[in-house]
């Protein structure tokens, strides 16, 4: 597609529920990043893929967070047993190569109630 597509756009989850957030990067983009953005803050890094390899997951806040990109294109961020502090906008970004700027999706706004 023309841009990075994220779904769903909005998600309301009850505390304890599992959620899965999807990112469709630009076709052919090698690098894919997930970020978490709390209200009024800048995005914070969660994890990074180069093709299907997860090269850095140091930003994942707990073992309830899991990300995958099995075929090197679409990526899914899964959050198990959601907590209220997980409420945030989750942003996905991709690029063909590094050092040239990234294309961000519109994000998924997760609200845990």
């Amino acid at each position: 597609g023309a841009g990075v597509s994220q779904s769903p756009r909005y998600k309301v989850a009850k505390r304890g529920q599992d959620v899965a957030l999807r990112c469709d990067p630009i076709s052919g983009h090698v690098s894919l990043f997930w970020y978490q953005q709390a209200l009024g803050q800048g995005p914070e890094f969660l994890t990074y893929f180069q093709n299907e390899a997860q090269l850095d997951k140091s930003g994942l806040p707990s073992d309830r967070f899991f990300a995958e990109r099995p075929e090197g294109s679409v990526s899914t961020l899964k959050i198990q047993r959601t907590q209220q502090e997980d409420s945030a906008v989750y942003l996905c970004a991709s690029s063909l190569t590094g050092g040239a700027g990234y294309t961000f999706g519109s994000g998924t706004r997760l609200t845990v109630v």
């Binding site: 009024g40 995005p43 190569t97 590094g98 050092g99 700027g101 961000f104």
Partner: protein
Amino acid sequence: SQQGEEDPQALSIQEGENATMNCSYKTSINNLQWYRQNSGRGLVHLILIRSNEREKHSGRLRVTLDTSKKSSSLLITASRAADTASYFCATELNSGNTPLVFGKGTRLSVIA
């Protein structure tokens, strides 16, 4: 943790005025990027300046980088109401294999 610190946190100006936002960072970088975010939307890449560059222009945008002071500035000239958004600086430590580290952003309001 966030490396960049934008200054000011919020800025309100009249249409036609220039807007200047500053960013400071802590470690050596490969490049610094500025992004814009409209409320409830994703980030849009505006401009990238490499560590060996001092100034860059793109339309009404002018970015400077001072690696000795670990700081950058974004100047928007002849601002328009449509420039109202949050602006973030982000540093990339290496090219392509390290994540962007964002600041907290400057919220710019341009009043018509």
